[in-house]
Every structure is written in structure tokens, then in C-alpha cells.
Symmetry: D2
Subunit: 490 residues, 4 copies
């Protein structure tokens, strides 16, 4: 009979109800973490003399076997992995021993601890993937400092820029995403274990010890808060949504640039699909799915926010419904980052088309207006008026055209104020336009080269941070492993 | 080699990419529908003489076997069930035959047709479940026309009412949910097949025939719209969110009423859980999860809305990402309705506690004010002022109290204007309060009995509608079955 | 002193609190409706002899003056328009008369009634605007049955189609939006008045009479449901989100088609903006904002769903926070529809560019494969393979190319199976492609002409429905007006 | 004529279109910031010799006047505050001078800079308000270390705790909210100015100088990213949603605790409302609205996420639609924090009721099970079984009861294994229960006192951080002021 329900409740739920309440499916993500938590808890119970050495050894031994059997050996009629695992342990080593593992804790702190451990791993892996994506972006950018392309605003030709400038824009945004993930990591990597149901426990436990054995950076310092809050999930999922927003914007560009009309890049065949009916089709399906997964991730965030709204303290079963959204969301974002990385590193850039397109749409009009300001001394707004009027005619203006229009608008010829045909030619040259834009952040090759250097340095420091995180976590795992071995050897 | 990609594309996607693009998991919901669509399409192709009789028979025979094998026999490296199924067919009957099934159609119309068939079934089943829930609610209400309980506004004691009145409020809301689902059903039950990729086809197909064979009420009359739109999914999911909102409100009441503090009902043990640490606990977990699933359903809606936003016509791969949210959402809402039904029909009503609670919080103050209006002729707003002032003192007023306060506020005694001790006693009696509220919609037993009658009648008509839907769908299935048999017998 | 608070509460809220609780800003939308509701309620109170004739006349007279003064004359320190209006009335006619208006009702039913009246008007107006948009779309479509353009899937050239086919796809979708709005209208146009706080009232009111005087189609038949539910708001807002999704997709196309790269249309100057710095720019700002407003509308829906989640019955103050989202949402959607109408009816179609673009991207590949199927009898999947392989080479194939590839893939020449050069030429002609696609829903001119006819007929019937709605509402308004006059004349 | 449109565009938008595109309403939030940005930009232009001294002085002088006139003096037919302000300036000082202000910049970088400045101020103010809320919470907690109350899980009585423990749980959560806001502050406080339309500029501007004059911590280092990204808005709004989630949970508790049933606190009259019909009502309207505003804030986040999804780089007009959601959201969250502060600091705690309630629901069952474990040595799971079985009977057990049940379940008397009547009495005492729970985070008074100390220290450091932020911002404002004065004095 169900080891939890047998005392307090008489009727058993039917199958429909069991399915409704079960979190076993989503708990697959927590199985390994749960074993770790059990081990750390049991070691601490032993060290605090709350259980004796032989019970401790028997439990650890049982956990070893359960881990080896895998989650599929558990009785799925239990409502979650935690209690199924305990039931399996009791089955193995008897209730007189296995029944002691749950001393001084509750599922409420246990599940919160497991989620934090699993999410911690997820966040580290994601930061690594975003790091790799940025590395790939700046690698590609490095080859395209001089690859002139149209810069767009409102999806309209605006001013000429380079592919490097565009890819570095995305890179810079992704670096901020890593920073945010790092903040989320810090607030996730805290230990709720020992909070028990919410009131902590009367047993003389040592919360610092489990904090250490599980590699947490610190502990949650109020036991009611520890089991009630899911703010760390909301924070991570908010970071995911922000990151997916950035990714979706890059995806949109890849889709646009792959059209017959833009024709600026060709995605690799492995990142493309064809049609079941139209044999000529080569479709950017991966980029489309990446764009779509933004909806998946945003919806998941909305689900968790809605679920957590207005829940009185402390634990409520509603929180169980929140966790699967976290994993769905994490999977969608991680795989999307990987796909982005793959697409960027394999796409073929059509440099010639980019150049040709840069000559369309009178994108040098701004520089022409600026040049008029510099050579004639008229105000920018007036120069904007003149060049705008010339643009309406749909043709690239000569000095004569400009003079004609300025006569009409300001009753003076620009040539009379110093504008020369040579000035105009220079203003209208896309490459010259770009080279002039060398202020911090601009598209001039010497500036984008500097941006690459700065980003590479930043990436190096990020890589160092992640290595350090991994090191700490691994050291704790080793310490836990050793502690278990010591018990088992005695 | 992949039967779609072999022509146009050279590189094959690696495993990560395959997993990213695959919809096989969600397509489990479409396997049966896909077979139906294939059969109807092939029958029509035969009737229009687009394929010959022996190919038609071989394909239908192959489909039969594939259905028997089940979805697990398909090659999951294909990106979706449709093409995996076609590949399996070709494997069975050879490309020279199986390769003809996809004539005059595309996955774009095929998948839209499958989703509509599967959703149609889902909507019918859901309407039935909501019907059953309402039946259960009015059944319970029928036993509680005289069960006095506090009526709340702002979760504060407001005026006395009956349990019947409350349950009928929920019932009435759920009936509107059924009406909305019915509207969604009508706009789902339309045939996109024949739209092909979006441009329809040059083959002389007969769209009316597949409409008939698949039991659709009509067809989508523009082929670009037919494959592009997912408005029917958004509509259904909006109905789900609306319904879940209603359910969550009932869930909240069940949770509140089960607290030690309210103690108005006891949920059945089978709809309760206990704690892993606190042995005395009996928790309303099912109601909590039902409440939480509102977040799941709302988030799913947000996902689909976000995915569909700003997609240019016609089909985009983004749409594939939308479908799993539909099924998640449908599952959550259907199981929640079933749980609600179960909880309502098994809960124990604590009539005595309800009655006792009705005497707290001076809930009869409104009737007292109304009585003062009727007996003394002073305006309602003035009576409200007097009774409010008396309520501030925290005690149930006597005539003397009221006179004292009215002297202060309006310089007259209410008794002097005709208010008697008897009037007050009657006004303060909860049962008398309720009996007086017999206008349409009110809590008076004679009125709630009328409401039960009206709802029962409405339910009957709903049941009739659903039966008719089922009948039409079944008739079409039979016709399709017969058409297949005819071909195979020849 | 505050006419509501003076009785029960001692402390007054400070300014911060007043601002936090006030709905006066959003209630501007309800001022007119509130006067109507007051008048209908007061007429009914008189007819039921709950108030006397002279009080009734004085109140109606006061309401007339308040209406003339406008909302700005009300004391904004009151928390909502309803109580501010009552306070103003009392100020005008004295408490002994004005204090009787609120007999037998509560703000809970009053506000629900006002929202329903205002939303009803909003829905009618919106249906009219969508009607006009569709009329404009089919009007434009009628001029472009033969305007060949590329049809896209995945934003890639797919098959040739016509502008008419595309515009009719949008039209068909918008007609479904009108149908949904119509459903929402029906469930909005129901009378909650008389439900009072939730328990109805002990006064002998006549709910049918106010239903009639306010032009409602029926009444909400459970008084607790009547004040608690906001499902009608959620339903309307769901319809808005669905409609905005359709609009955003059209907006995306207008934006894409206006790019230098696509260059298929030119939006009118009045629907365009320029840049503060780039004088040559002509940007599709209106279309972009229309696309963006989808986010506004979807977020508003999410707000209301979140607000309503898990509120116990009956009224909670939370509901006040929901209403402004409804109006924001309604404004965004209505103005967007109007902008869409304007853009469509003023845009310049670049027919020549559409035609030229149709020749790019080997869009006739599907028809070529179909032709091969029809002339040679090989299966579609095999023809798809052959044409796909030829497409990979990037050139439009000759018979010789096809023979070469078919030799390689199926060891036969297609010419040997009956494919001729003439077949190929015909298959590759976009206009011929389109003409062949004459099945229901297809792009062939004779079929799009039929679609225009069908839609025009449908629009006519919609216009009739809306006229009828308006007629009923106007008739009720007149009856109310007359009833007031009768009282005032006596 | 419109100073922007006059060049490129011929037709003027009509009123509907103007209203559709205008951001003037939301730009009220940006007016002051815009003046600052203009001043810093103009000072820098002068220092870089891009404009001359007299033009610079005239412009600064004009800006001074415009500031004094206020936003209401601007021509609202312009589409935003930036261009309306420039137009007003030109009107004042002539185009030959005023037309120079917009040299080397675009509205794209200008608006991004203004939003960041206004949001920076908002974030500082919000952090201060949350700081004050926490101060108020720990102040109240300090008075209630010994105020025993029921601790809840699943809204069911779980274990006894203290009011201090609960309030500190909320405090701890809010401190993490401040940390997140601090992270958002850092990523907001970066300068986009100088990015111009997205390609930076050919004028020799000094971005470091404007960074300094506007008090930004650093600059955005890629100009395309600088104008395209709204990740900083999404991040802040995510923090707001997370914070509102915490607030909504506290609001729910305040609402529950104020019910007749729970009756644990009484909210101050100034934070309560009454009913228009039910004179006895005292409703927790402020807490309800606070709960509801969570929906407002979450919906706003969803709006911005949806708006930003899949926008290609760089600027798109869609971004304009995002900003009002930011301000709505910021207002809702800031006012909610203030209301929470007010409610907490004025509420009346009903200590006696809390104590009485703590004795209900057998909340000491866990301690009883723990005590059995400690005194008899049986495993926890077995003790849980025994106590659960006793709880099902609904009475608080004596030693005899426990013995009877343990005989049945484990065939031994617990008394035989050492459990005494005294052990039971101690285990069943709520105060003793709490005192035993003194591990880190627990409810024991000595531990909650430690928590108060730790939080107070943390708050001190937070206050220091905010002071430093303000100091830096103020210093920059002073420097800008001085720079302007210097120019004007010359």
C-alpha cells in the first residue's frame, strides 16, 4: 500500500486521478539530482548522529542500486519520483532502515533542492552554448569587416553597413544574455534543504554540511521562503524569453536574407528542408522553428507566472504544475542556441549580392546631408529637407539637381556655398560612408575589428567564469562521493 | 534515403537537427486521423480517375497494415508522421504504387486536415465532459436548495445564500462555455484538403467528395487561407482558457471551503493527498492542480498567439511548433473538467457548519437597510448610512440601537417612522432573507428550483446537439469504410 | 463626506490610496452607459411602485443635468463613476430623493451592466469596420484576378498565384473573425441588472423590464453568476487577439512587399513616415504599428485571464483592474482594422514587378512534376524526385535535362514515356499554371471571381445582421427615452 | 509644415492616422529626459566644434524655455515628443540655429537614451520603495517573534509557526527582488547616444562625453545593437513580474487573514472599502487590487515580448508600441509596493486569534512523529504511518491511543519502546514545537531574531548602494548644468 497515504487517507485515487496528479514524467529530469540529494542528506544525518552507521550504509548502498536500475524501475503509480524512490528503497532494505531516510526533511524542501540542482546544470550548459554561439558569430564577423551590405531600419534600406557590424550587434546582445543567466545562476545555486515542510525541523541537522556536499554557494535563510518561492524559476525563464527574443530576431534576418528577393545568404542544406509537393523548394525550416520556439518559451513563462500568482505561503501543490514548463522552456532555448550556432557557422555569404543591394535605395542620403552640412554650413534639418526632396524624385542626385532644389527651398545654390561634385561623389560611395563611421560602435572596419577584440576578451573571461562554476560543482560531487565511500568502507 | 530530400538537398541533418525539426512526438495525436485522410484522399483520386483501381487497392491495403502496426512501426528519423507514413507505404507496396498517394496534395493541407479531425473529436469529447459536470452540479444543487451558507463578496461575508445558488452560478457559466466550444466546433469542422501547398492543384480533384467522406460540415473556400490559418486553434484554445478560468474559480472555492477555518465541505479522500512529513495532513491537491492548470492552458494560448503573429502567407514551418500546445492544452482542460466532476459528486457538504457560518459577519445588514426603507420610507442611501454606522460597532443591532443612531444621523427615531422590533427580527433571519430573494436569478428555493429545471432542459438540448454531431461524424466514417471495402472487393 | 464610507469606516484613504483604487479614468467609457442604466432602473422602480412619481421625476431630471454637465463635473475623489454620479445627484436633488436611486441594486450589477452596454456598442462598431475592410479587400481583389504574383511558403517562392487569391485569403479569414465577434456579441448582450450585490434583492423589481429598456437580448439567469463572471470580456478579447493575429499577418506582407527587395507595392504617403536623420526614407510605420498592436492586444488578454484566475465567487475588486485592459484592447483592434482598410484601399500595386518576380525561383516545378505524372504515368513521388534533382542544379530544365536526370534515377527517358517539349513549355508558364488551378479555393481567375461573388453575398448578409442589431438597440433607446418623457410630463 | 515629412513625403496623414502613430501620450514620461539628452548632445557638439558657440548658446537657451513651458506647449500633431520639441525650438530660435541640434544623431538613439534615463530613475525609486517595504516587514516581525500562528501548506494547517517567521519569509524574497532590479539597473544605465539611426555617424562626436554628462555607467558598444535592443526593458519588466508575484502572494494572505473565517488580522480602514449596498461590509480592496495588478504587469511583459519577437535589425516602429507598457507596468508595481508597505505598517494583528487557531488542525503531528522517532528509535516513515492513522480519527492522541494503533500496525506498544505521556505533551505544545525549530531559517524566536539582524544589515548595504547610484546621477546632472551655464555665460 502507498507508504504515504496508508496512514491518513482511506480511499485510493483511480487511474484518472493518478494521472492527473503524477509528476513522474517531468521528474525524469530530477532522478539523478534526487539521488544526490538523498545521499547528501543521509551523510549529514549520519554525521549528526540522527541515524546510525549501519542504516546509513544500507541506505547508500540501496541508492547506488536504484541509480543503476534507473528511473524506469520505479513504481510509476506513485505521484512523484521522490516518494517512488523512497518506496523502492524501503522495498530493498526494509522499512526499519529505509524508513529513516526521510527523517528531518519533507518533499517540499527535497523537490526544491532537486529542481535547483537540475536547473543549475542547465544554466551552466546554456551559458556555454551561448558562449559558443558568440564565438562563432565573431569568428564569422572577422571574415566580413569589409563585406558591405544594406543596413535596414523598418526593413527598408537605410544606410550601408557591413556584415561584421550586424553580426557584432547580435554578439553584443547575446553577451548581455549570458550576464543575465549568470545572475539567475547565482540566485538558483542556493540550498533549501533543511527547510522541511516549511518550518525546518526539530532534529539537529547541519544545513551548512548539505550546502557544501551539494556544491551550493549558500543557503536560503528562511525556511518558509525556501519551500515557497519559485522566483528563481521565473528569473531563469525570463532570461530564456529575453534570449529567445534576441534569437528570433536573428532567425528573422536569416529567413529574410535567404529569400529569392534578398538573396544575401544561403543556408546549408542540413539546416534546410524541402517540400512534399514542390520539388524545387529549399526552405529555412530550422530558422522558422527557432523563431517559433520564442512563442513556446514566452508561453511557458506566462504559465509559471500565472501558476504562482496569489498562492498563499507556504507550499501549494500548484507548484508541481510549474516545473515541466521550466524544462520545456530550457530545452527549447538550448536547442535553439545550438541551431543558431550551426546555421551561422555553415551559411554561405553572398558577398557580391550584398554589395549590389547596397547600391539600391539611396542609402547614402544621410551622408550626403551631413556632407552638405559640413561643406556649406547650413543646418542639418535644412540639409535633410533638401535631400529628402531630391529623394522623392527617385533618383541619385547630381550637384545640378541639388542646386535646383536648394534654390527652390532656401533660395541659394549649395554649390555657391562650397558643395562640389567631388564632395557628392564621395558622399555617395558606400565604402567611404562606412569608413567614416568609426566612432565607438560604428561599422568602420577599424572599429569593428576593435569590437571583435573586445568581445573576444569578454568571451575569455566568461569562459573562465563558467570553468570556475563547473570546478566548484565537481569538487562538491567528489566530496560527496568520498563521504559515501567512507561510510560504505567502515 | 529520405524520399523528400533526396532530390533537392544534398546534406542530411545530424541528430540534433532532426530532433529540433521533428514533430513525431506530437504527431501521435494525428496518426489515426492521417490514415483517415489518406484513405479519403485515395478514394477520391480513384473516383476522379487520377489513380487506377489496382494502385488504389494496394494503397488502401497498405494503409490498413500500417494502421495495424501502429505509429511505433514508423521510421522516426522522418520529420513528421505524414512523410514517415508515406515512406512506410512505399516500403510496403513499392514507389510505383505508394508514390501516387501524394498526388494532388501537400503536407500543408494534409496536416491542417488531420489537426482539424483530431481537434473535432477533442471538442466533442470536451463538450460531453462539461455537460456531465453541469449535470453533476445541478444534481448536487437539487439537494441543497435549503442549505444556507454565507455568500461572499471580496471573500468577506456579504449576504446569506444557499449552496444551490452557488452551484447554479457555476453551472450557468459552464453552459456558456459549451456554447463557445460549439462555435469553435463549427469553425473547426471545415475541410482544407485539396488546398495542396496553398495553390490547390491542377489535378481534377473533387473537394466535396473528401469533405463528405471525412464528415466535415463544409470546406475552406480559399486554398491559401486553408493552409495558412490557425485561427480555429486559437479559438479553441481561447475557449479552453475561458473554461479553465471558470474551473479555477470553483477550485479556489473548494480549496477555501476545505480549510480548517471555513470548514464547509470535505473532499473525498480519493481527491486528496497527504504529506510526506506531516502525518495529519489531508490536502486538496486535485483542486490545487486544477487551479494551476489554468496557467498551463493560458500559457499555451499565449504560445500559439505568439507563434502565429506576423507570419506572412501561406504556410510557414512555425505552425508546426503551435500544434503540441493545442494538445497539451486540450489534455489539461479535459482532465480538469473530469476532476471537477469527480470532486463535486463525491464531496461531503457540512450543512451545519454552513448554517453556523451564515450567522457570522452581520450578513443580513442589507435586508435590514431594505426593511428600514420599506417600513419608514427613508431613502436607501440614508438607511445604508445608519446600518453601516451600527455595523461599525460590531454588534447586531436592536431597535433601540437603531433609534439611537438614527437620532444622531437624521434626528429622528426609526421606530417613530414605523420600524418595529418584529421587522428587525425578520430582517435578521437568514432564511427569511433568502426566501425574499425570489426574483429571476435569486437564491430563494422556489427560484433555484426553477433554475435547475431550466438548466436541465438546456442540458437536454445540448446533449441532443452533441449526439447529432457524433452521428454525422460516424455516418461519414461508415461511408468511408464502405468506400474502401468496395475498392478492395473489386 | 463620502456617502458610502461615512457609515462603516472611520479613516479616509490618503491620495496615494485614492489613486490606487480609483477607476475614474477608465470609467470615462462608462459614463453614458451609466446614465442609461440609472434611467432604466429608476423607470422600473417607479413602475414597480418602489419609488414614487415625484422622486422618480426629480431623479430623471437630475440625471439629465448630470449628462449635460459631462463626466468632468463629477467629484473625482470618489472611487468610481457610479458612486460619483450618485453623489452628484444627491448634491443636486437632496439625499431624501437622490438617495433612493440605488434601491434594489448594487454597484456590482450596475458596473457589469455598464460594461456590457459599452462593449456591445464597441462590438457592433468593430464588426462594421471589419465588414468595410473586407469590402475593400474584395474590391481590390476584383481588379487583380489576373495580376500574377509569387505565392510563398516559408517566405520562399513556391507557386505562382494572383494578388486576388491572396487578398481573398485574408478576406475569408476576416469573415470568420466577424462570425466570432457575433458570437461574443450574443453572450455580451445579456442583462445582469437586478442581481444586486450577487443575491438579487427583496424589492419587487422587474428584471424583464430593464432588459427591455436597455435593449438586451435576454438576462443572466443566476444573480451570483451575473456579477461574478467576466467570461464575456475574455471572449471578446480572445476574438480581438485572433483578429489581430490575422491583421498582423497582412501587415507583415505589406511590410515585406514594400521593401526595396520585394518591391511589389507602394504604400500611400499618408500611411508612411520618414526618418529624422535619413532623408530618403519612406517607412511603412502604420503597418509596423499594426503588427505591434498584436502584442498590446495579446498582453491585454493575458492580463484579464490572469486577473480572473482563481477568484472565488462572487464579486472581487480585482475585476475592476480587468476593465481598462478591455478598452485598451478594443481601441487597438478597431484602429488597426481602420488602418488596414486605409492602406489596402490606397496602396499602389506594382503589377509589372509582381509578374517579373513570378518568373524567379522555379515556381512552376510542381506543375512540371504533375505534368510528368500525367503524361508519363510515373508516380508523383518519383516525379518529385526527378524535378527536385533538376532544381538543385539551379536552372529551368529542358526536355533533354529531364531525360538525363530520369535516366540516372529511373533508368528511363521521360520523353520515351510521352513527355514532350510542348508539355514542358506549358507547365513552365505561370499563367497557365494558375488557370489550371480552378478547383474550389484555387487561384484561377474564374474561381477567384466566384470567390468574390460568394464573399460579396456573405458580406451583404453580415451587413443585414448588423443593421438588425442596431435597430433593436435604437428601438430600446427610444422606448427608454419615451418612458422618461412620460414620467417627466406627468 | 511638418519639418520631417516636408522633404520626402507628399500626402499628410489624416487625424485617425495621426492618432494611430502618435506616442505623445506616453512621451510625457520622456519630456524631462529629452531635454537632458538634448542639452548633453548639444554641449558635446560644441566641444567637438560641430556647432559654434552662439548656436549652442541659443539652443540651450531655447531648451530652457521649452522646459519651463512644459510639454503641454508642444504641438501634439507631431508624432512624438522628440520631433515636437525640435519643431518648437526651430520656431523659437529659427531653423538656421535650431536645425543644427539634430546633427549627428537620430530619433532612434535619442529615444533609446530617453527611455533608459527615465527607466533608470524608475528603478532607483522602486528599489527604495521595496527597501522601505522590507524595513517595515522586519519592523513588524520584530514585534512578533513570539506571536504563534498556524503555518500552512496547501492552505491547510500544517505546523505552528510565528508571524515573524512568515513576515521574514516575505522579506527574504523581496531582498532578492532588489538584487534583480539592481542587475537590471546596471544593464539599463548604458548610453546608446551616438548610435544615430544605427550606423553611428560621420561627424567627429565624443560618445564618452555624453556618457559622462548623462551619468551613464558605460556605453553600448555596437551602434546597431544600441538602437535595436529592448532587452533592458524586458529585463526590468521581468523583474516587475517576479516582484508582483511575490506581492500577490502576500496580498492573498492579507485577504485570507482578514476573512471572518481566518480573522487573524484587521486591515486599517484607510486600506479598506465598503459596499454600495451592504452597509456592514469592510472589504480588503487595496489588497485585491494589488493582487490584480499582477495580471496587469504580467500582461505588459507579454505585450513587450510579443512586440519584440522576430523584428529584424535595426530599429522598427514596432518598438514605439512597447514603451507605454513599460510605464504602465512600472506604475503598477511601484504603487503596489507602496500599498503593501502601508497595509503592513497599519494592520492590526489579532494575536489571540492566531494563538487559538494554532491549536486547531493537529499541527503538532510532525513533532509527535519526530518525538516517537527520537524516543523509540522506530523509523520516521513508520512513525508517520502511526500518527497519520491516529489523525484520521480526528482527535489529538493520548499515549493510550498511540499504543493501540502501534499495536495494530507494528505489533508493539510505543510506550514499551520508551514513549512517555510527558513526551507527548511536550510534542503537542505549539510553543515548544517552535522553539525546537532553531536551525538556520527556522521559526524559533532566537533564530528569527538572528534573521532580523541579518536582514537589517543587508538592508543597510542596499541603502548604501542606492545612495551611491543617486550620488553618481546627481553629480552628472550637476556637471551638465555647469557645462550649460558655462556656455551661456560666455
Amino acid at each position: 500500500m502507498n507508504i504515504l497515504r496508508r496512514g491518513r487517507l482511506s480511499a485510493e485515487p483511480d487511474e484518472d486521478i493518478e494521472r492527473f496528479t503524477s509528476s513522474m514524467e517531468a521528474d525524469r529530469r530530477l532522478f539523478d539530482a534526487d539521488i544526490e540529494v538523498d545521499r547528501a542528506h543521509v551523510i549529514m544525518l549520519r554525521e549528526q548522529d540522527i541515524i546510525n552507521a549501519s542504516d546509513c550504509a544500507a541506505i547508500l548502498c540501496g541508492l547506488e542500486k536504484i541509480k543503476a536500475e534507473g528511473i524506469s524501475a520505479l513504481d510509476t503509480s506513485y505521484e512523484d519520483v521522490h516518494i517512488a524512490l523512497e518506496a523502492r528503497l524501503i522495498e530493498m532494505v526494509g522499512e526499519d532502515t529505509g524508513g529513516r531516510m526521510h527523517s528531518a526533511r519533507s518533499r517540499n524542501d527535497e523537490v526544491a533542492t532537486c529542481i535547483r540542482l537540475a536547473l543549475r546544470a542547465e544554466l551552466m550548459a546554456l551559458m556555454e552554448e551561448v558562449h559558443d554561439l558568440v564565438a562563432s558569430l565573431i569568428g564569422t564577423a572577422s571574415k566580413h569587416h569589409d563585406t558591405i551590405m544594406p543596413g535596414y531600419t523598418h526593413t527598408q534600406h537605410a544606410q550601408p553597413t557591413t556584415l561584421a557590424h550586424n553580426l557584432l550587434a547580435h554578439s553584443t546582445a547575446f553577451v548581455r544574455d549570458i550576464e543575465r543567466l549568470n545572475g539567475a545562476y547565482g540566485r538558483t545555486n542556493l540550498n533549501p534543504l533543511g527547510a522541511a515542510a516549511f518550518a525546518s525541523t526539530g532534529f539537529p541537522i547541519d544545513r551548512k554540511r548539505t550546502t557544501e556536499l551539494l556544491g551550493f554557494e549558500g543557503m536560503l535563510r528562511n525556511s518558509m521562503d525556501a519551500v515557497s518561492t519559485r522566483d528563481f524559476m521565473i528569473e531563469s525563464m525570463s532570461c530564456f524569453s529575453n534570449l529567445m527574443t534576441s534569437l528570433s530576431r536573428m532567425a528573422e534576418e536569416l529567413i529574410l536574407w535567404s529569400t529569392t528577393e534578398f538573396d544575401l545568404i544561403e543556408l546549408d542544406d542540413s539546416y534546410s528542408s524541402t517540400s512534399s509537393i514542390m520539388p524545387q523548394k529549399k526552405n529555412p525550416d530550422i530558422a522558422e522553428l527557432m523563431r517559433a520556439k520564442t512563442g513556446t518559451v514566452n508561453g511557458a513563462l506566462m504559465s509559471v507566472l500565472t501558476i504562482c500568482k496569489a498562492l498563499p505561503y507556504s507550499y501549494n501543490r500548484d507548484l508541481q504544475e510549474a516545473t515541466p514548463h521550466l524544462w520545456r522552456s530550457a530545452d527549447a532555448v538550448r536547442s535553439s542556441v545550438r541551431m543558431a550556432h550551426g546555421m551561422i557557422s555553415t551559411m554561405k555569404v553572398k558577398k557580391e549580392n550584398m554589395k549590389l543591394s547596397s547600391e539600391k535605395g539611396f542609402m547614402t542620403a544621410t551622408e550626403l546631408a551631413d556632407t552638405i552640412v559640413r561643406t556649406t554650413g547650413i543646418p542639418f534639418r535644412t540639409a535633410h529637407h533638401i535631400v529628402g526632396a531630391v529623394a522623392r524624385t527617385g533618383k541619385i542626385p547630381s550637384l545640378r539637381d541639388l542646386d535646383a532644389i536648394s534654390m527652390k527651398l532656401i533660395h541659394e545654390k549649395l554649390s555657391a556655398r562650397g558643395l562640389s561634385e567631388k564632395d557628392i561623389i564621395e558622399a555617395l560611395d558606400p565604402a567611404a560612408n562606412i569608413n567614416k563611421r568609426a566612432v565607438t560602435g560604428g561599422p568602420a572596419p577599424k572599429e569593428t575589428k576593435r569590437q571583435v577584440m573586445a568581445l573576444a576578451k569578454k568571451l575569455g573571461s566568461i569562459a573562465g567564469d563558467i570553468r570556475l562554476m563547473r570546478k566548484k560543482v565537481n569538487a562538491a560531487a567528489e566530496e560527496l562521493e568520498n563521504a559515501c565511500k567512507n561510510v560504505l568502507q567502515v
